[in-house]
């Protein structure tokens, strides 16, 4: 987490029920406050900023109430705080590329939404990094926007659960926030029996043992067919309530989701793998290797790979897949 992101998170502090009464005015006030914090972190303006374009800049954060009682409220708010300059906006159109990855911590299942979409037919925005590069003024102009998302409008469950949410803008991701959702009583269910994903090879856990974590190691960046592209992952997360059990025995399985994010590709390829893990102090931890080709979801071209496991998100890990 960089200082920008920290400033964003620190600034966006909303108490209790105020989360459920956020209007444009409140959002604007927050936006200005965060903007001021960010501006304070910005280096001094160059004498002539219009002479040269700055490097792309972006920082992303999200915020959500820690408790969301849907029996009393009709929204499940999520704020996405995005700071970027014009160079970045040219490079990656956030309206097209912004994602929210949401993990149901009870089940470990992940879904992605395009939070800036509406229930309407959108006008084609054109490809990122197309057309003339912005001039230096535009490239250096920064924006701090806070988008308020009602997750209930995106088909999220109204059942009692816990969600871990993070925003992803192609090659940048935000912090992860968790929301305890109190809603309709979730039907009791048993942990499903499942098999570990074929070709997932369990490995000794090789991550920190005192915190939740997720990490991937890639053999490189360039991937091409016919060549092994073995991922090495280590995950340690709180055990989902309904973590699948291994059909073969008492072993636990942890759903780990790989997100393949490509710039301007509206679809997000996802591959869930079930990784054999061990229980340890209320956590599930395990290492694994997995050849990327078995994910069956590796799109062509430049891709940012994220790993989502429980409340942990790792990435991006750039991959260049040349078919």
């Amino acid at each position: 987490m960089n200082e920008y992101q920290a400033a964003m998170i620190d600034t966006v502090r909303i108490d209790g029920d105020a989360w459920f009464a956020l209007g444009d005015k409140q959002i604007l006030a927050l936006q200005l406050a965060v903007s001021h914090r960010i501006q304070a972190l910005e280096p001094a303006d160059p004498d002539d900023a219009t002479a040269a374009r700055p490097a792309p800049a972006i920082s992303l954060a999200c915020a959500a109430p820690t408790e969301a009682d849907l029996t009393r409220n009709s929204t499940l708010p999520l704020l996405i705080v995005r700071y970027s300059n014009g160079m970045r906006e040219w490079l990656v159109d956030s309206d097209t590329n912004m994602l929210v990855a949401a993990t149901d911590l009870d089940t470990g299942n992940v879904r992605c939404i395009r939070p800036l979409d509406r229930d309407k037919r959108m006008r084609e925005r054109g490809l990122s990094a197309s057309g003339p590069m912005p001039d230096a003024f535009e490239a250096a102009t920064t924006g701090l926007g806070i988008e308020q998302i009602n997750l209930l409008g995106f088909g999220f469950t109204t059942e009692t659960t816990r969600l871990a949410l993070s925003a992803i803008d192609f090659d940048v991701r935000s912090n992860v926030v968790t929301v305890n959702v109190a809603g309709q009583e979730r039907p009791p269910r048993a942990a499903p029996l499942a098999d570990a994903t074929p070709f997932v090879q369990p490995q000794p856990f090789d991550g920190p043992t005192d915190v939740a974590s997720a990490a991937l190691m890639l053999p490189g960046e360039d991937a091409s067919p016919g060549r092994s592209f073995a991922l090495r992952g280590d995950v340690r997360v709180p055990a989902p309530s309904y973590a699948p059990k291994s059909r073969d025995g008492d072993g636990k399985l942890l759903p780990v989701t790989l997100l393949f994010v490509q710039r301007d590709r509206r679809a997000v390829e996802m591959a869930q793998i079930l990784v054999p893990v061990q229980a340890s102090d209320g956590m599930l931890e395990g290492g694994f290797t997995f050849d990327l080709w078995h994910a069956h979801a590796v799109p062509d071209g430049r891709t940012q790979l994220y790993l989502v496991a429980g409340s942990e998100v790792a990435g991006p890990y750039p991959i260049m897949h040349v078919a």
Binding site: D24, L28, Q31, S35, Q39, D45, P46, D47, D48, A49, T50, A51, R53, A55, P56, M87, C112, I113, R114, P115, R118, D119, K120, R121, M122, R123, E124, R125, L127, A129, S130, G131, A136, F137, E138, G143, G145, I146, Q148, F154, P198, F199, Q201, G226, S228, A230, Q262, R265, R266, A267, E269, M270, A271, D291, W293, H296, A297, V298, P299, G301
Partner: protein, 1213 residues
């Protein structure tokens, strides 16, 4: 025997023979013989009980007249033949032989000698009594006397039984016990009885006295037979113990009709015995007996074993191991059907055979219908005497109506082989019965067994109905969809040929079709089965437009997924053969039955849903509800068959034997149930269609597509036609008049230039629909019942929705030179302003109401003589932010004015003394002098030299600040005049916290069943794309596909759409879309110092240098922004360049116009799209999530199509 006596003295019969002396006076004696016959004849029979021969008697006499002269002669008795025998005693113990000397004395004769006689042979016998001549001639001896007697043979009476057949058929009473059956009121039909003639034969009938007057007793039958007086067997035979002579002796004899009531295991004897007193003239023959049998002819009729048939199963939804393709599944199913053996027909019991009857469908020209198996049972030889072996046994049609025919085989055309009793004693015979003409009523057709013997003495009749069975021959005349239109609802059937619209009721109710099968006759109770036979093209491109995605569907998003050859080792694992797209494959066996057509109680069953016919006004009918599939484009033939044609349950339309055989058992399409339609030869089909309507929202005063016509939607109509949906138009528009439009709040009419990019001022108004006002455009309340699935379409020029505030923008400092004169309004006014892209659409007034401006400040940075100062932030006024509609590059661009308060200013850079003035003393050296010319702030100079009271040199102490026109001469006290050198104050403006109210524009939507569509003449195709797209959403397209791939929203059992992802706000299809590019280049998007080099000095700042290396169209350049020591420590991008091959980091830099060398930089290169248009190969589906897509399909893609076909369109989502 006669009791008439005769006295003869001559010939028999004469009482006195005249004496020849009669009349003379001489007294003499006349002796006269006579034979007085008391019994002129006697009855005799020489063989039959001769002891009962009658004894006749006559008396030999002689008498005298005159004087008694004492005649001493004797009388001799003679006879002329031996026809009778004579006896002297009444007991006939003492025979007399008249051919020997038999004489009697006169004295005996005078008293009379009685002679007895019996018949011996038929005929008369002359009796003669001859007196001896008298020795005294006075004695006249007359005579001889003659007479005669007759021997009459007795009447021999012989009983007689004559038989038509030596057997009578057992009355099997087939109808017995069938009183609760289909034909409970039908009469029993007994077999034709065998007649027998009962009589007596008499050897003579004259004289009457000898005729048989007794009776006869008929016995021996009672155990086995019922006897009747008539052939109809309505009059039981009577008086069989005393059959009257009249009948027995009559010409017609007594005719008895015998019907078997109990089968005889061996011949029994019929006996006729004469009864009564046998007269002497009669002789009763012994009783007569005849061997007779009661024999059974039996046939066994079979019908289908409905219980077993109901249990037959063939799973149409089974995946073959390793191959889940539809073709394979269908083949497996069809093979199973071929191999499925219809159980042998089973025996109908007696009640069933006669009472319930066997249904047969009247045979068709193509021989589609089956025959009933019938067995003529093997005969019990003991019941059938050998003489019956040549009797023919035939099966005859005894139908009251209808007709049936019998064949040798189940399928052939040969009649059965002739059958004789002899044959049937050896083995049973199996024949097959076919309906050839419809029965008029239930069980009205009948087949019976008949016995017929070759011609012999007695006339013979065919013995019908030895056994019989009832049939009902029916013809399913027609199968039709029974649909009764409701005038208040849309018609699902009958409007368009063949099409059945399944979405006018909730699914699956809307798919229910009532089929009505009608018979040709009014016959209730016929079990009919109803079938929906899928077209062989279902699930194929021919009917669906695409094939069922049962394998290797084409997807863009996963097309690149790795498909390494089987066995390839990757990452230590072996690649399986599972296709990578398998999870998206529609495995037919896994698709829920809920979506498939339903004409059986379980799809695995062989037989279909059944219902019995009931009586109609003219013909019987049965209605059955079946359910069409939910797959638009499916085509079904509705068929019906009777339950006795279970083989037709196997019917598969279009199926042919792979081996080319026409054999029905292998060719499931060879024999066909009665299809839908008026004539079997012209079957009708039911096509699964869906339909909905649009209603035009007509807005007065707008010449946009609000006035669109049906033809304008031709592409949309065609696109839906391709996915088997009719998009039709409601009759009435929903009109919005001008008054209503103008009264809307918030407003719906904006100048076009405000919302249409590049629209000119004065180009008129635009209709702008948004969340704020759209409800006012749509009809309220429920859709008309006639068009329940109605989509009002409001067409607008722009669809904008309020979208909160924009991001807060902070610009870099920009000099005034970056600002330009920008028109502020239509009046020609301009302002010096700079554009800022706010990232959201903007218009003024904003859709939310209020001001466009939400917040903003500006900071001024001044640079005077190399020293920069940033001033305190100043709030912008709302008027400082405006939209220059004609100038903006994007809809999100606003313009911010150069603050009026920030004026051009100059500072005193240097002065030269023009006039030193007076009064300056050495003490004045070092003093400051304020120049008098007014400025924002006054300049001051410090006197640094004087000469003679005149200032000769000054330095600038305070540069002052002057606005234009700045003074050309500065004056100070004592006449001091200075020539100033001015330099402008470098002022730059930075806007901070700049925020405006934003909006977002869309191309359309469909919410709550109301559709908005933007019409842009330049993107006309997108209008129909939007209509298609939004209607698609209205029906739940595109379906969900959230990893880990839960079922799609189309149905739980259908795999997720491979090209859609649930990204929260309406799934979309990324078919053939993506980021394919025709060309791209690498551009520099970040540059940082890798090695600062050496020898640089501050003068090198702002020098631009080129990147070295790589292949470029345009070379990238950087600017040196700072130097520390002699090394560069800051660079910025000046030109990002365009590289086809990017140079590797660290990148070398040129050294033009700089003092140092060795600078290298690390560059972040980013791929830049060189062609912003969608490449030609990029043909996204109409469900792609944005538009316009000029190169798009303008219709549903091949991946979406099956989802559309399977979608429940009975309601909007």
């Amino acid at each position: 025997m006669s009791d008439t006596s005769s006295d003869s003295s001559g010939s028999p019969g004469e009482t006195v023979k005249p004496c020849k002396y009669k009349g003379k006076k001489v007294r003499a004696e006349v002796v006269t013989p006579s034979i007085v016959v008391k019994d002129a004849y006697v009855w005799f029979h020489d063989k039959i009980r001769p002891e009962r021969n009658q004894i006749g008697m006559f008396t030999l006499k002689a008498a005298w007249t005159g004087d008694d002269l004492n005649y001493k002669g004797r009388g001799k008795f003679t006879a002329d033949n031996h026809r009778v025998e004579f006896f002297s005693d009444s007991r006939c113990k003492k025979p007399i032989d008249p051919f020997k000397d038999v004489s009697y004395s006169f004295s005996s004769l005078k008293t009379g000698v009685k002679i007895y006689y019996k018949g011996r042979r038929r005929g008369d016998t002359e009796l003669t009594l001859t007196l001896d001549p008298a020795k005294d001639d006075r004695i006249t001896v007359e005579g001889p006397a003659t007479n005669s007697v007759r021997a009459r043979p007795a009447n021999v009476i012989t009983p007689k039984i004559e038989l038509e057949y030596v057997v009578a058929l057992l009355d099997r009473k087939p109808h017995a016990g069938a009183k609760d059956s289909n034909n409970k009121d039908a009469p029993e039909i007994p077999p034709t009885p065998t007649y027998m003639l009962v009589s007596v034969e008499q050897t003579r009938t004259e004289p009457a006295e000898c005729q048989f007057a007794g009776t006869a007793e008929f016995t021996g039958y009672s155990t086995n037979l019922d006897l009747f007086q008539n052939m109809k067997c309505s009059k039981p035979a009577a008086n069989l113990d005393a059959l009257p002579a009249a009948g027995l002796t009559g010409t017609d004899k007594i005719k008895l009709w015998a019907r078997g009531k109990k089968v005889s295991t061996a011949a029994f004897k019929l006996k006729l015995t004469l009864k009564g007193t046998e007269d002497v003239s009669q002789r009763f023959a012994d009783p007569v007996t005849e061997d007779f049998n009661v024999s059974e002819l039996k046939m066994t009729l079979n019908w289908n074993d409905q219980g077993k048939i109901a249990a037959l199963q063939a799973d149409p939804d089974q995946a073959a191991p390793g191959d889940y393709s539809l073709d394979k599944q269908l083949k497996t199913y069809h093979d199973d059907l071929v191999g499925l053996v219809i159980p042998d027909q089973i025996t109908m019991n007696k009640k069933q055979k006669a009472g319930v009857g066997r249904f047969l469908h009247c045979q068709s020209a193509d021989k589609s219908f089956s025959r009933a198996r019938l067995v003529v049972n093997k005969l019990e030889a003991a019941q059938w005497p050998a003489e019956t072996d040549d009797h023919m046994v035939t099966l005859e049609d005894g139908s009251d109506s209808g007709a049936i025919a019998v064949f040798k085989d189940a399928d052939g055309t040969d009649p059965p082989d002739p059958m004789t009793v002899g044959d049937l004693k050896k083995k049973p015979v199996i024949v097959w019965v076919e309906g050839t003409t419809d029965s008029d009523t239930l069980c009205d057709s009948r087949l019976f067994l008949q016995l017929y013997r070759p011609e012999r003495d007695l006339p013979r009749r065919r013995k019908r109905n030895a056994d019989w069975a009832r049939f009902t021959v029916v013809t399913i005349e027609s199968v039709k969809v029974r649909y009764k239109p409701d005038p208040n609802k849309p018609e699902a059937w009958g409007v368009d040929p063949k099409r059945f619209y399944i979405n006018f009721k909730d699914d699956p109710d809307g798919r229910e079709v009532t089929l009505r099968a009608r018979l040709t006759k009014n016959i209730p109770g016929v079990p009919l089965l109803f079938m929906l036979a899928p077209s062989p093209d279902n699930m194929k491109a021919a009917n669906w437009g695409v094939d069922l995605p049962d394998r290797d569907i084409k997807t863009v998003t996963v097309a690149s997924a790795h498909t390494a050859p089987s066995g390839t080792t990757l990452g230590g694992s072996t690649v399986s053969e599972t296709p990578v797209d398998a999870k998206f494959v529609w495995k037919w066996n896994e698709i829920s039955d809920e979506l498939k057509h339903k004409d059986k109680n379980d799809r695995k069953y062989l037989v279909h849903k059944s219902k019995k016919t009931k009586s109609g006004k003219t013909v019987a009918f049965a209605d059955m509800k079946v359910t069409l599939s939910r797959f638009g484009g499916d085509v079904f033939t509705a068929l019906a068959y009777i339950n006795e044609d279970p083989h037709l349950a196997k019917y598969v339309e279009g199926h042919t034997d792979a081996g080319g055989s026409a054999e029905p058992a292998k060719n499931l399409g060879a024999r066909k149930p009665r299809p839908l339609g008026d004539a079997p030869s012209d079957p009708e089909v039911i096509e699964v269609w869906r339909k909905f309507w649009y209603q035009r929202v007509a807005v007065e005063g707008f010449d946009t597509k609000a006035g669109f016509t049906h033809g304008d939607l031709a592409d949309a109509i065609a696109a839906y036609e391709e996915v088997v949906v009719v998009l039709d138009r409601t009759v009435a528009d929903h009109d919005i008049d001008a008054a209503t439009l103008n009264g809307m709040s918030p407003q719906a009419v904006y100048p076009r230039y405000m919302v249409i990019p590049n629209a000119a001022t004065g180009s008129g108004d635009a209709l702008v629909l948004s969340n704020s006002n759209k409800a006012q455009f749509f009809p309220s309340g429920a859709a008309p019942t006639k068009t329940p699935l109605r989509v009002p379409i409001a067409v607008c020029d722009a669809q904008w929705d309020p979208d909160g505030n924009t991001a807060t923008k902070n610009t870099p400092f920009a000099a005034k030179a970056k600002f330009a004169d920008v028109p502020t309004d239509d009046s020609g006014g301009t302002a010096l302003a700079i554009g800022v892209n706010m990232g959201k659409d903007t218009c003024d007034p904003p859709l939310q109401g209020g001001d466009l401006f939400a917040s903003g400040n500006y900071l001024v940075k001044e640079k005077i003589a190399g020293t920069s100062t940033t001033l305190a932030a100043v709030a912008l006024a709302s008027t400082d932010v405006f939209i220059a509609y004609q100038q903006r590059a994007v809809l999100g661009q606003v313009f911010v004015k150069w603050p009026a308060a920030v004026e051009d200013e100059f500072y005193l850079d240097g002065v030269a003394v023009a006039n030193g003035g007076t009064g300056c003393t050495p003490a004045s050296i070092g003093t400051s002098v304020t120049v008098n010319e007014a400025g924002v702030t006054a300049a001051q100079v410090t006197i640094t030299a004087q000469n003679g009271g005149a200032v000769t040199a000054v330095t600038v102490a305070n540069r002052g600040r002057y606005q234009s026109p700045q003074p050309a001469l500065l004056t100070g006290a004592n006449g001091l005049q200075l020539t100033p050198t001015w330099k402008p104050v470098v002022k730059q403006i930075k806007f901070t916290d700049l925020t405006v109210q934003g909006a977002k524009d869309f191309l359309g939507e469909c919410q709550n069943g109301n559709l908005l569509a933007v019409y842009d003449p330049a993107e006309a195709a997108d209008f129909t794309d939007t209509v298609i797209h939004e209607c698609g959403h209205a029906f739940g397209q595109a379906p969900e596909g959230t990893p880990p791939n839960p079922p799609s929203s189309t149905h739980d059992s259908i795999p997720a759409h491979p090209n859609t992802k649930d990204l929260g706000k309406g799934n979309h299809c990324w078919f053939e879309a993506g980021t394919q590019k025709t060309s791209s280049a690498w551009v520099m998007t970040s540059a940082t110092v890798a090695n600062g080099g050496a020898g640089y000095d501050p003068g090198d700042v702002n020098e631009d240098e080129e990147v070295i290396g790589g292949n470029s169209e345009t070379t990238a350049e950087i600017i040196i922004t700072s130097v520390s020591g002699d090394a560069v420590d800051g660079v910025a991008i000046y030109d990002p360049g365009e590289y086809t091959t990017k140079p590797a980091n660290p990148v070398a830099i040129t050294t033009n116009n700089v003092t140092g060398a060795g600078l290298t930089i690390d560059v972040v290169w980013t791929e830049k799209e060189m062609d912003t248009s969608m490449p030609a190969a990029n043909t996204p589906c109409v469900m792609y999530d944005s538009g316009p897509q000029p190169t798009g399909l303008h219709k549903y893609c091949s991946v979406c199509t099956p989802y559309l076909l399977a979608q429940d369109m009975s309601k909007f989502k």
